[in-house]
Symmetry: C2
Subunit: 335 residues, 2 copies
DNA sequence: CTGTTAGCGCTTTCAC
DNA sequence: GTGAAAGCGCTAACAG
């Protein structure tokens, strides 16, 4: 049947243990021996048996993605990124849906990790913003890497994006188009990204000498509906802004819908900007001006730094901030 | 450390083999013994070690989802369904992205299954429509269950939906609203669903005495862009239909965009219907009349029939057809 | 119906 | 640098 470590050891005329050393990249193997073994491995097409490795070493070679995020396209991108990073590393991805509001969250996840002997977790917002949850992971010695952390602890493994700068840049762009009356829809309050984006907006208008108008600043939660509701709300104001910046594309689409239902035209009567460059951003008309994050790359990197740590290569792959890209489309018009 | 089968056998005062029998639901264990063992299992909080089970039994307790589908929301729903079905079964889900056009597809998947000792595959369109691929799986004795098969082989494991009937019903609904000039955008030619939906449309108009007009029937591929292009194309015709039925929501959204860019209003100037009830269907304005399939439930069932087969309960959980639901929204207007 | 014995394929321990 | 032996936790094969 399948070729085992024994076959390799026979073929290479070394002990089983030596083969084991080679395939695990351990030190103390003569270069010549290593070459010989590697040749046999290749020749016989040897693949270490995962179950046997797991059984002995108490590792599972499985990473788990933890998420509680309604945005399907974000999830798909994250997954895809991790998936690519895992390729040819021997690690595999398991998906774990969570409920960040559950009071059993912490124990559930610890149980999950222990039951399946998950080697490491990749944590996405809003779970990544829950200090006590992360603390619990540390207390149980669970390795994890964070996508979009609220605080960038140099000790921890994370990938972040420059949400503040991007929001600042996008707001400046809107201002450059001649807008002074710019509304803002905040994202889910539990996501740190929401605050970074809001602060970027606030600082940008301030630095351009524009006073904030709280009538045009609404709380959303990243959902289409919350954007729609915020739009309805804003359009009831005595004075309506000439542009609205929503913290994500779904909410921007919601605003667009509420505007169109009111008989307003985008961008003639209202300019609009979103964030994320989700599929919806260009599947509506007019297409949304937005900010694109390299979500797939970020997720891939989050997996890579975890794997690097497991393989003792932590020095080579480190936490990192990724840059976003401004995408100007038809929903933004000069006044 | 962790409690093992030995601890249970001691606690219950039986042999370890008996414990093994109980946890694997094997026959030939006296009811009383079983109870005793189960009590110990519970008391000690025993969880069989997956790696050891795998090593011995050559099973991995992993199902893999095979997909090559650009629709992220569909993917997320499928995943979520399988995920729920796996809960508390001891099985886990691994995701595997494929390229249905690759000529290495067959060997790649076989290799993947063998390397990871995947117990069973859940196959989605368009992979599920590739006869030779499925044949290859059978030749290699790989168990699989199909979501949306092209042919419903009573021997195979599958979940299907009544696409034909749903398309027929939706077309009839459009006709009921007074439309006679109804365009149709076909889906990806490799997906059997495309043909079922098209046939439903064709039979419905025919049975209502409407002649098909091939100027209004365009080939799409389920993407937003293909819908947009088809729209542009149709709106060049000398006579424009009063309604268009697109084989999915993304394409319907594409048509809406092309209509709006032409200055047409939906539904005043053009009624529109889609299929799938993707998020986009109600994130555009006007919201799309469409057909909702219970994708999550279907995916869950696909996983369940696989697991049932593994656990020797094939009789209890069988292949099944699910019913879709017509959702009438603002994009459809009476003439 | 139940138990004993072997051993899955690998890593760990400890010897050389 | 390298190897021999032990054994991870479980199930298969065979007795009884």
């Amino acid at each position: 049947m399948a070729v085992t470590i024994k076959d390799v050891s026979k073929d290479a005329v070394v002990s089983i243990k030596t083969v084991s050393r080679v395939i695990n990249n351990e030190a103390n193997v003569a270069e010549a021996t290593k070459k010989k073994v590697l040749a046999s491995v290749k020749k016989l097409g040897f693949k270490p048996n995962k179950s046997a490795q797991s059984l002995r070493s108490k590792k599972s070679y499985m990473l788990a993605l933890l998420y509680d995020n309604p945005n399907k396209s974000y999830l798909a991108d994250v997954q895809s990124g991790i998936f690519n990073a895992c390729k040819n590393t021997g690690y595999n991805l398991v998906i774990q849906e969570c409920d960040y509001k559950s009071n059993k969250l912490k124990t559930d996840i610890i149980k999950f990790v222990e039951d399946f002997k998950i080697d490491g977790l990749i944590v996405t917002p809003p779970l990544s913003d829950m200090e006590d949850f992360l603390k619990e992971l540390e207390d149980h010695q669970v390795d994890y890497s964070i996508i979009a952390p609220s605080t960038m602890n140099p000790e921890s493994l994370y990938v972040s994006s420059n949400d503040y700068e991007a929001a600042y840049a996008l707001t400046s762009e809107i201002i450059k188009h001649g807008h002074k009356d710019i509304g803002f829809i905040k994202g889910h309050p539990k996501h740190s990204a929401s605050h970074m984006r809001f602060n970027g907006y606030l600082d940008a208008i301030k630095n351009h000498g524009i006073k904030r108008n709280d009538q045009w600043i609404k709380q959303g939660n990243f959902s289409f509906k919350s954007g729609f509701d915020a739009g309805v709300d804003i359009f009831h104001s005595a004075k309506i802004p000439t542009a609205i910046f929503a913290s994500n594309d779904s909410m921007a689409a919601g605003i667009m819908k509420s505007a169109q239902m009111k008989g307003m035209q985008v961008p003639q009567d209202l300019s609009l900007a979103g964030f994320d460059d989700s599929p919806i951003a260009h599947q509506i008309w007019p297409a949304l001006t937005t900010v694109k994050q390299p979500v797939e790359k970020m997720a891939a990197h989050a997996a890579k730094i975890l794997i690097a740590r497991f393989d003792g290569l932590a020095e080579k792959t480190k936490s990192k901030e990724f840059k976003s890209e401004l995408i100007v489309r038809e929903s933004l018009k000069s006044l």
